[in-house]
């Protein structure tokens, strides 16, 4: 990252230059490096792997304090990850070895680096790597875990209430099978209520998704996206947060869609139950060096692993290194899962800034999609008439 910034600054200085010269960069092939070190220089890994099997003695990290004497969590943080929410079906252990982890990273990064095939659906998209939006170009904390879920111990979601045995893990496996990275993020970005086309108030299956804007996925409509907590899950890209601590309020800004959580610190009554929100309502307090945040009052419309209005989330933020926050959350919903479950989603230091992600304002995509669907229907109707 540092090397890249230096390169970038020198390029920006050459404002008169129209053509970018490849010789300005050190010639490091990205896919030749483990994805955690995309720049020419290896970036130092986070202090220690999350709960490793063995741990060498290290000088204990002293958590800095804010001006108000609270544990300092401030700054820009990212949670982009290749670690799936649920443990892949063919994996039984809790931790990869460092070698295995590096292989996972390398495979994923080189996959992101690959060109898609012209004439395929996958090719109908801008290239993520050109916009530095592929995960391998974000800082990824060293995380040897085989799943983000740390409880239940099998690393998978608990069974759904009322579901048959074994069906509980299905939803969380995410698109792309057991390796689905950010399955929490992907699923959370999926349309409300389950099936892709299912929409509140109308529409039906996937076939009706482009009948109207209201049938389209919540994220496409720029209402809310997968990175907005609680809990904080990989948004897929731009998964960056800014934490600002005032004297008795903690603000967490989610980059997409400039989503703001303001968490009052201290003793407060529970919010009135009639007030329900997409991101619920939070209360926070400090326990030693840990910020604990309890959230209730969800309106149940933000897709989160099938949960509804009874969802409660408890988050714990602990700064364990200058560049790492140990972030865990426990999700409880007795009407959705047979037991609460807990995940660990480390936050790693990111470069700022968070530029305004004004989404709805310049959201031309859905208008183009709807217009395209109408044009296709009209063409089909005209052809049928002949």
């Amino acid at each position: 990252m540092k090397h890249r910034s230096l390169v970038v600054l020198s390029i920006v200085a050459l404002l008169a230059t129209v053509v970018f010269s490849a010789s300005l960069i050190a010639g490091q092939q990205r896919s030749a490096q483990p994805a955690a070190q995309p720049a020419a220089q290896p970036r130092p890994a986070a202090a220690t792997p999350a709960r490793p099997a063995t741990q060498t003695a290290a000088k204990p990290y002293v958590v800095p304090k804010t001006v108000d004497g609270q544990p300092d969590l401030q700054g820009y943080w990212g949670n982009g990850t290749y670690t799936p929410l649920e443990r892949p079906q063919n994996v039984t252990k809790e931790f990869y070895t460092e070698e295995e982890y590096k292989t996972v990273l390398k495979t994923r990064a080189s996959g992101e680096d690959e060109q898609t095939t012209p004439g395929t659906t996958a090719d109908v998209h801008y290239d993520f790597t050109q916009f530095a939006l592929d995960t391998s170009q974000s800082p990824i904390p060293l995380n040897l875990r085989t799943s983000l879920i740390i409880d239940p111990p099998n690393g998978r979601l608990p069974a759904r209430v009322g579901a048959q045995a074994g069906a509980g893990g299905g939803r969380g496996a995410g698109p792309g099978g057991g390796g689905g990275r950010g399955a929490g993020g992907g699923a959370a970005a999926a349309p409300a209520g389950g099936g892709r086309g299912a929409a509140p108030g109308g529409g039906g299956g996937a076939n009706n998704q482009y009948d109207s804007i209201q049938n389209m996925p919540i994220g496409s409509r720029c209402i809310i996206m997968g990175g907005s907590g609680p809990p904080l899950m990989d948004a897929g890209y731009n998964s960056v947060y800014q934490i600002v601590q005032g004297k008795d309020q903690v603000m967490i800004v989610t980059e997409m869609i400039h989503d703001v959580r303001i968490i009052p610190i201290g003793d407060r009554p529970l919010p009135p139950e009639q007030l329900k929100q997409w991101i619920g309502m939070s209360r926070g307090h400090y326990e030693g060096n840990t910020l604990v945040v309890e959230t209730t009052n969800f309106n149940g419309r933000r897709p989160f692993q099938g949960a509804g209005q009874n969802l409660r989330i408890t988050e714990r933020f602990t700064r364990v290194a200058d560049d790492k926050i140990d972030y865990t959350f426990t999700a409880t919903d007795e009407t959705t899962w047979v037991s609460p479950w807990t995940a660990s989603v480390p936050l790693t230091k990111e470069k700022g800034p968070i530029f305004e992600f004004a989404c709805h304002e310049t959201n031309y995509g859905p208008a183009n999609i709807l217009a395209g669907a109408r044009a296709t229907e009209k063409a089909a109707a005209d052809a049928a008439r002949k």
């Binding site: 108030g201 109207s212 004297k247 309020q249 800004v253 400039h258 997409w278 800034p353």
Partner: protein, 271 residues
């Protein structure tokens, strides 16, 4: 006797001079732990600026069906010293905005309100203050302003809420904002600026529960000179108050996308 009279006159004169020359006592706000005036809290404007920042008479709203409940209240305005100094062609554009406000007001479409409009929309906003960043979070459309107090850079690109660099001058937070995209309006009446808008705000605590807000506005593409607005901001003092979501995208979708709906389908019922 005469000396005493002269002495009394002189004393009166001196006192009168002293009293009139004496500036009103400047309020000194409580300090944050890093020694700055503490602006933390929930604030809100109470005026009709969001209808029209200039002085204006009451008038019907743009939809007769909404009757008196959504008509325009009169107001003294927040613009100092007369009407906004538009260039002639810019004034014509403002009039056109006004005529088409029902379809053109970005607020109706739940677009980010920009600055200064966010500061006087009829919604509370919250300031969360830290040494390096002063954040302003607005209920309307979840708008956010980041005031960079350190590591300051120019605007990397244009945005709805602009790019703000701030500094303290004694009791006053001075905010310099550029990088606007020219899309927001100043009010429902169609007052506007372009992407060369430059705003300098001065926010000064005037009492435990009020702030003085003033802004100098300049845009050489639209106005013949710079001009000022000013109004108080009031602290929302209710116990345990929090901002609530106003995710208004859904309220604007039928307006924006309704014409692209599949023929034969009706608008989805509101939830």
């Amino acid at each position: 006797m005469r000396n005493r009279l002269v002495g009394l006159v002189v004393l009166t004169a001196v006192l009168a001079t002293a009293l009139s020359a004496q500036a009103p006592a400047t309020y000194r706000a409580p300090r944050t732990k890093d020694g700055k005036p503490d602006l933390n809290g929930i604030w809100q404007a109470i005026n009709t600026a969001n209808w029209n920042i200039e002085a204006h008479s009451p008038e019907p709203g743009p939809m007769f069906q909404l009757g008196a409940a959504y008509a325009v209240p009169g107001g003294f305005g927040i613009v100092e010293g007369g009407p906004i100094p538009y260039k002639p062609e810019a004034l014509a554009k403002r009039q056109e905005n006004y005529k088409n406000r029902l379809t053109q007001d970005p607020e109706i479409k739940c677009y980010l309100p920009g600055v200064p409009r966010a500061m006087y929309q009829p919604f509370p906003f919250q300031i969360v203050q830290s040494p390096k960043h002063i954040m302003m979070s607005f209920e309307f459309a979840g708008a956010l302003r980041t005031i960079y107090m350190a590591d300051q850079t120019p605007a990397p690109a244009d945005s709805w809420m602009g790019w703000s660099n701030g500094k303290w001058e004694g009791e006053t937070l001075v905010i310099d904002t550029t990088g606007f995209n020219g899309m927001p309006w100043f009010d429902k009446a169609g007052n506007y600026a372009s992407d060369t808008l430059h705003i300098v705000e001065r926010i000064t605590p005037r009492s435990a529960e009020t702030l003085n807000y003033e802004a100098t506005i300049e845009d050489p593409a639209v106005f013949t000179r710079s001009w000022k607005i000013s109004f108080p901001l009031y602290r929302r003092i209710e116990k345990n108050l929090q901002l609530t979501e106003f995710r208004c995208v859904e309220y604007s979708e039928e307006i924006i996308y309704g014409h692209l709906r599949k023929p034969g389908t009706g608008p989805a019922p509101t939830r």
